[in-house]
């Protein structure tokens, strides 16, 4: 949605309505901060210093890491496979990121199940991994899952809903049975079943969640297409010789798409919640991947480690609430009578 000065487009109206809604703006702010943290995760929590002065040489290992990852640079000899914490001991100057750990930095011999301290701000888990680092990198996984899942749901929902609503008749009858079938499936149980019998992987989770949650969008788009199809401008476009796909994509869809945004905002919250539930049950992401849900799962069996429950759970709560508030605000801004 672009907002042009002086215009009073639909997008501008919605944005103005949204800005008046304090709760939605709080949601938007949290969503924005989380997105920035997700992008900058490698610089917020990393076991490589920003700045390292060693034997008269100046390095920037945190940046260099990206170069090596892209295949553009090589690690210089003194830093190759180095333990930066040990290097820093004899360095002339060093500047660490705010959280000087990797999310996957296992330390079984050292600080296992450490309570929060000045060394590990939010404590460590059973493998000695820093919880703060895990949480910062967990934002990435949560948001990626949320966005990919919603993209899959919206694509399927818009495609099938659009076809059913536009063509009607047999197409509609068959697709409507499919929608009803999807409604009749005990979704969470199906998700648990599939997640448990396939090998754990983030991609499996994305696909299952994406393939199960689209029916709300499909039913909504179908109803909108049914309504808009009967309007004069569609008949006009058709009589001018526009193809079916052009009528659907260029003429009808723009009139039906806005409320899908609301469903998508709620969808991100739902997907993040579902992923963390699965990881909490131990059938989500694989063991070596650190997510909010998988940190919480450790607390389930180690009930003394309160920090493993309190912090990641709060992160999930905050994120889910932010997307729900945003969705709520968007709904009110688009059309207060809308029921999604």
């Amino acid at each position: 949605m672009t907002v042009r000065a002086g215009s009073s487009s639909y997008g501008a109206n919605v944005w103005r309505e949204l800005r008046r809604n304090a709760r939605a703006m709080v949601g938007l702010l949290v969503v924005g901060v989380l997105a920035v943290l997700a992008l900058a995760a490698d610089f917020v929590a990393s076991d490589k210093p920003y700045y390292l002065e060693l034997d008269g040489q100046v390095y920037s290992p945190a940046l260099l890491d990206y170069g090596v990852w892209l295949g553009l640079r090589r690690w210089p000899e003194p830093l190759l496979n180095a333990d930066f914490a040990a290097l820093a001991e004899r360095a002339d100057a060093v500047l660490w990121p705010p959280i000087p750990y990797r999310s996957t930095g296992v330390d079984i011999t050292g600080d296992v199940f450490e309570a929060p301290s000045s060394k590990h701000l939010l404590g460590t888990d059973g493998l000695g991994r820093d919880v703060a680092a895990g949480m910062v990198h967990g934002i990435r996984i949560s948001l990626t899952i949320g966005l990919v899942v919603v993209a899959i749901q919206a694509s399927i929902g818009i495609l099938l809903g659009g076809l059913a609503g536009y063509y009607g008749g047999w197409t509609d009858l068959v697709l409507s049975r499919l929608f009803e079938m999807m409604l009749g499936i005990p979704t969470f149980f199906l998700i648990i079943t599939v997640a448990a019998i396939f090998p754990p992987s983030i991609y499996t989770i994305m696909v299952i969640l994406g393939l199960t949650g689209w029916v709300g969008i499909a039913r909504f788009i179908r109803a909108e297409f049914l309504k808009v199809r009967a309007l004069e401008f569609v008949a006009a476009a058709q009589s001018l010789g526009a193809s079916d796909s052009r009528v659907m994509l260029r003429h009808i869809l723009p009139n039906a798409i806005a409320p899908v945004l609301v469903a998508m905002s709620f969808g991100v919250a739902g997907a993040i919640l579902a992923e963390s539930s699965l990881s909490f049950l131990g059938i989500g992401v694989p063991q070596h991947v650190v997510t909010w849900g998988s940190i919480l799962a450790v607390a389930r069996t180690n009930t003394f480690a309160w920090w493993l429950a309190v912090f990641p759970g709060f992160a999930i709560f905050l994120t889910v609430t932010a997307y729900n508030l945003l969705g709520d605000g968007l709904r009110d801004a688009l059309d207060p009578r809308l029921e999604i």
Binding site: R177, G184, F189, T193, I197, L281, A299, T303, A309, G313
Partner: protein
């Protein structure tokens, strides 16, 4: 109305087939074979140094077990056989312990239904008055606090709250106010007087029940509030006020009664929730209910149990959708499903 009901019931059948076939196909196409799992358990139990003859023997035994369970046939055939047995009321036997599936489900059903019935009751008793009270003075301080409060509750992930309760309230390093698992205390005696047995049971169910209800206040109280506000702006309410009725009578007799219509229809939609135990809550608090049974059966690839739960749940969901539609039509004479009449 009758014709419409019959038509909807007929349309339910292909949908039900679709759902169960999907579940059937997923479970049989997925990697992980229950027979292999069954044998892996036996092998791990100590058959070190297996020779070639033994391996052939094991393979034969596996093939026999597969044939006995019907797992060697094509999936559509297996599905047809399963459906045939389902129609005759036979849910098959568990692969894990060879008990009849229905017996396993019956053992677990009681506690799950008990939790869900109580949860629905509590939800209605709390959320409906909240919704009514905030609609009387919309946008008042109470209304805003109430909306915010139930919204926050709704957003709290159940598995987080459950884990926090276990850590902070159920033993551990903090308070030991509630039991962390199960339905009975250690010294439980079936000969205890009724009040003591009930007290012990609800002492154990209190926290699981809390986790079940707290998220559901938001939807219902919001629904109630909207329904009240919609009716409050109707002409008949103005008429009631104009003829001098007290505000109390207007709200309780005129607005409230009409606002209850949609609330009643929601009840039908709760049908599947009645037997569907929460996997997460029952896992956290070790409640031997349907959710725990489902989760354990999924992990053990116990297909017959998983399929039975799937079928029951989807049947009740579809029935719930239908009943909600019909209840709406029965209660509100303005809604008609007959063609030609509006």
């Amino acid at each position: 109305m009758l014709a419409y009901t019959a038509q909807r019931l007929v349309l339910l059948i292909p949908t039900f087939f679709g759902v169960t076939f999907l579940a059937f196909a997923i479970m049989h196409l997925a990697p992980g074979d229950p027979v292999e799992l069954f044998f892996a358990g036996g092998l791990a139990a100590g058959t070190a140094g297996i020779d070639a003859d033994k391996l052939v023997e094991v393979e034969q035994a596996k093939a026999e077990l597969r044939a006995e369970l019907g797992l060697d046939r094509a999936i559509p055939v297996q599905y047809a056989l399963w459906l045939g047995r389902l129609v005759r009321g036979d849910l098959g036997r568990s692969l894990k312990d060879r008990r009849a599936v229905w017996d396993k489900i019956r053992d677990r059903l009681g506690v799950t239904v008990e939790i869900n019935v109580l949860a629905i009751l509590i939800t209605y008793l709390v959320a409906v008055p909240l919704g009514i009270y905030s609609s009387v003075r919309p946008n008042s301080l109470f209304d805003q606090l109430q909306t915010l409060g139930v919204f926050m509750l709704y957003s709290l992930p159940v598995f987080w709250v459950g884990t926090l309760i276990i850590i902070f309230l159920c033993g551990g390093d903090f308070f030991a106010w509630f039991p962390p698992a199960g339905l009975h205390s250690l010294g439980y005696d079936p000969d205890w007087p009724l009040w003591q047995r009930l007290g012990d049971r609800y002492y154990h169910l209190a926290m699981p029940l809390l986790c079940t209800v707290y998220t559901s206040f938001a939807a219902l109280s919001r629904f109630m509030r909207t329904s009240m506000l919609e009716n409050a702006s109707m002409d008949y309410v103005r008429t009631a006020r104009a003829k001098g009725l007290s505000e109390r009578v207007v709200v309780l007799k005129h607005i409230l009664r009409n606002s209850l219509i949609p609330i009643v229809t929601i009840l039908a939609g709760l049908l599947p929730a009645l037997i569907g135990g929460s996997v997460i809550i029952e896992t956290i608090f070790s409640i031997p209910g349907i959710g725990q049974l489902g989760f354990q059966s999924v992990l053990a690839r116990d297909y017959p149990v998983v399929l039975a739960l799937f079928a029951a749940s989807s049947f009740l969901t579809l029935l719930g959708i239908l009943l909600a539609d019909l209840a709406l039509a029965l209660i509100d004479p303005r809604i008609s499903f007959e063609r030609g009449r509006a």
